[in-house]
């Protein structure tokens, strides 16, 4: 009897669980400070729209990506609003997996969105996702160490300067390393850095006929520079360092320079977390005088999957969360320094924001310096600065990233790593039918 009751209970619970209210929006989002803040402030939205309930699904970035990709590809319809990046939008938009955002309301001011960010979220002239926050990468450095060494960081440094400064500032006995860069393998890990860096060295992922370009001298120059510099001036075990590992190293005073996401600026200048909060300066990502900087461009954006039954309410929510009014709401509740950055031009004209966020100018300049539609020195057939917006890229990027990570760890030579990268990429692209 007990067993029967249990089973019956479980079955009933299960069937009830599948039923959702008519106006409940299920929002899938990524776990980061800005998104958690949005969840916390969402009661303002539900107060204005009492007929809409919000259900939050917050997941780690990679879990979220797998989850929403399965759901959208199979038209599962589990989510009404999805948080996706600039990598997914061009691919999913082309597949008609996303609904166009053409009804964001008269006060939305779509022209206020930063052009670089907006163009990454637009497919054939239609906006498919609204940016919630945007980021690029930049150089963060220790002003105190630079001063002691008599060095001065230019606003727009070159890779030559970075290498020289890193070697000068390294003191391995004292566990001080001139530069910290990503080494952990993955298309969103070391390949984000290396692809953006390669752009500034004149390299590109594919030529206009989709031929892999790892056999070209520009890639060899990029990877040799990276491996040599990290061996001489980088921390030990760098091939397993990602954003968080480098953040911890920088915050504990072990790195003189760190080139990574602009979002790191708020962490390294926060005295509660960072031991070097008062001594951090910012500069653009380096270049090689070829007209392209080594910085990337990313925007976490809100989009509506085509399978949703509640498109109107979803659009209403997106308009609220990515509006100018939302930025003001965050400023009012938590201060201007906590406003999600990198999406609207008006934010960078706001004196209160500029006073509260010392890294604001550099963030804007970094974002404006990246062009997802023209990322490399030579012409390319793809969209994306630190990625190639094709479905095959996640697999290719991670396999190639493993080769470069192995080269950094000294397991293979730079030449061998590049030869393997060329072979892997050519094989995958041929299989996928590119260039036929």
């Amino acid at each position: 009897m007990r067993l029967k009751t249990w089973l019956l209970g479980a079955a009933c619970l299960g069937s009830f669980a599948g039923v959702a209210g008519a106006e409940t929006l299920t929002i899938a989002t990524v776990n980061n400070g800005d998104m958690i803040r949005m969840q916390g402030l969402s009661n303002h939205f539900t107060e204005q729209n009492p007929d809409i309930d919000l259900e939050w699904v917050i997941l780690e970035e990679n879990v979220l990506r797998q989850r929403v990709t399965t759901d959208i590809a199979t038209k599962g319809g589990q989510y009404d609003v999805m948080t996706i990046g600039t990598y997914e939008v061009p691919i999913w938009g082309k597949q008609d997996w996303l609904l166009p955002l053409d009804d964001l309301g008269p006060d939305y001011d779509v022209d206020d969105l930063l052009p670089a960010i907006r163009s990454g979220l637009t497919v054939d002239g239609t906006l498919y996702a609204a940016p919630f926050y945007g980021e690029s990468s930049m150089t963060m450095y220790r002003t105190d160490l630079f001063e002691e060494a008599g060095l001065e960081m230019p606003d727009a440094p070159t890779w030559d300067f970075i290498a020289e400064a890193a070697r000068t500032l390294t003191d391995k006995e004292d566990e001080l390393y001139g530069i910290c860069l990503r080494g952990k393998a993955g298309w969103g890990e070391n390949m984000a850095l290396l692809t953006a860096m390669a752009n500034s060295f004149g390299a590109r992922f594919f030529d206009e006929q989709w031929n892999a370009q790892f056999d070209q001298p520009e890639w060899k120059e990029t990877i040799s520079y990276y491996v040599d510099l990290m061996n001489e001036a980088g921390p030990p075990g760098a091939s397993s360092n990602g954003f968080n590992e480098n953040l911890a190293l920088f915050q504990t005073g072990k790195c003189a320079m760190w080139i990574d996401a602009t979002v790191a600026a708020s962490f390294v200048t926060n005295p509660d977390e960072s031991q070097v909060a008062d001594n951090v300066g910012f500069a653009l990502a380096p270049d090689n005088g070829l007209g392209k900087r080594g910085n990337w461009l990313w925007a976490w954006s809100l989009a509506i999957p085509a399978g949703t039954q509640q498109a109107e309410a979803a659009q209403k929510f997106i308009a609220w969360a990515t509006s100018k009014e939302y930025l003001e709401l965050v400023a009012e509740e938590e201060g201007w320094a906590n406003v999600p950055p990198g999406t609207r031009a008006s934010l960078y004209e706001n004196p209160e924001y500029l006073a509260a966020a010392p890294f604001a100018k550099m963030t804007l300049e970094s974002i404006e310096a990246a062009d997802p539609n023209d990322p490399a020195v030579d012409p390319v057939p793809y969209v994306g600065v630190q990625f190639v917006a094709i479905p095959e890229f996640q697999g290719i990027g991670t396999s190639v990233g493993q080769q470069f990570s192995a080269a950094l760890a000294g397991q293979v030579s730079v030449d061998d790593a590049l030869a393997s990268a060329q072979q892997i990429t050519t094989r995958e692209m041929t299989r996928a039918g590119y260039g036929e």
Binding site: N62, V63, E189
Partner: protein, 276 residues
């Protein structure tokens, strides 16, 4: 002299035992300690063991951000539910294999186990499509069903091993006394196999509790168990160790307590028939 040597030997083995035990337990202890640190202290070098400013801030944040009770209830329903359904199917199946084997029994057992050899992601899309079409996505009924299927081969194998240890003569005697097949299984076989069934049950609950692939991929919000609760606290960009540790501590606490109380059954069951 011999006694001294044996005492020394005992002491050495005891120390080795303790060291091994502590080494296994250390990650859990470290997670527990980290959950009381601030994010800054959690990444401090050198690591701080006990002498830091203890805070409950992470638990407060986790409680504020997530509905822990809902996740925990979901975890309990699906792990206990899938185990009970699994046992209902596995006990008769294991009886048949242990006491009425055919030429093909070994092959069937191996075939059942072979389903565990396929990486789960290989069947994600077909299962997802079936769930979508049957309206089972994000439902406890669907998730429980999948977990039954995932754990069934292990439950059958374990029970089969235990049942093989029970002398067939006893069952035969029951039959001679006029017991029906149903009575034979319920009143003779099951009571004799209680330690085995109990440890199988516990193991199945633990496996279902920790199952992270299907529980993350087939749920969104309503049926999301504690695995989804933990996945909400990790991040590739930003410090999260202290909050993640608090979430992990809350997620493992119920199963750890269950394991603590049932450890005698678990050990007895797992070593059942090991020494002959």
């Amino acid at each position: 002299m011999a006694r001294a040597a044996s005492t020394r030997r005992k002491a050495v083995f005891t120390i080795i035992g303790w060291v091994a035990g502590l080494a296994v337990f250390f990650p859990i202890l470290w997670t527990f300690l980290t959950s009381f640190k601030t994010e800054g202290t959690a990444i401090a070098t050198p690591p701080q063991f006990l002498f830091f400013e203890w805070t409950l801030e992470n638990y407060a944040t986790v409680q504020e951000r997530s509905n822990y009770m809902r996740h925990m209830t979901n975890s309990i329903v699906m792990s206990v539910g899938s185990t009970l359904i699994g046992l209902l199917i596995a006990i008769p199946a294991a009886w048949a294999m242990a006491f009425a084997p055919t030429r093909r029994t070994k092959d069937i057992l191996m075939w059942m186990l072979s389903t565990k050899m396929l990486p789960a992601v290989g069947v994600l899309v077909p299962i997802y499509l079936i769930f979508r079409d049957w309206g089972l996505l994000d439902s406890l009924a669907g998730l429980t069903g999948v977990l039954v299927m995932v754990n069934l081969p292990i439950i059958v194998w374990m029970l089969y091993t235990y049942f093989r240890e029970i002398p067939g003569d006893i069952l035969e005697a029951a039959r001679m006394d006029g017991a029906s097949l149903r009575n034979e299984i319920i009143y003779v076989l099951t009571p004799m196999a209680v330690p085995g069934i109990a440890s199988t049950m516990l193991l199945s609950i633990i496996l279902a509790w920790n199952e992270a692939f299907w529980t993350l991929n087939l749920t969104a919000s309503e049926a999301a168990p504690l695995t989804a609760f933990i996945a909400a606290y990790s991040s590739p960009e930003g410090l999260f160790w202290a909050k993640l540790s608090a979430a992990s501590t809350l997620a493992i606490a119920p199963i750890l307590i269950l394991g603590w109380f049932a450890q005698r059954q678990l050990v007895r069951g797992l070593t059942f028939g090991a020494v002959k």
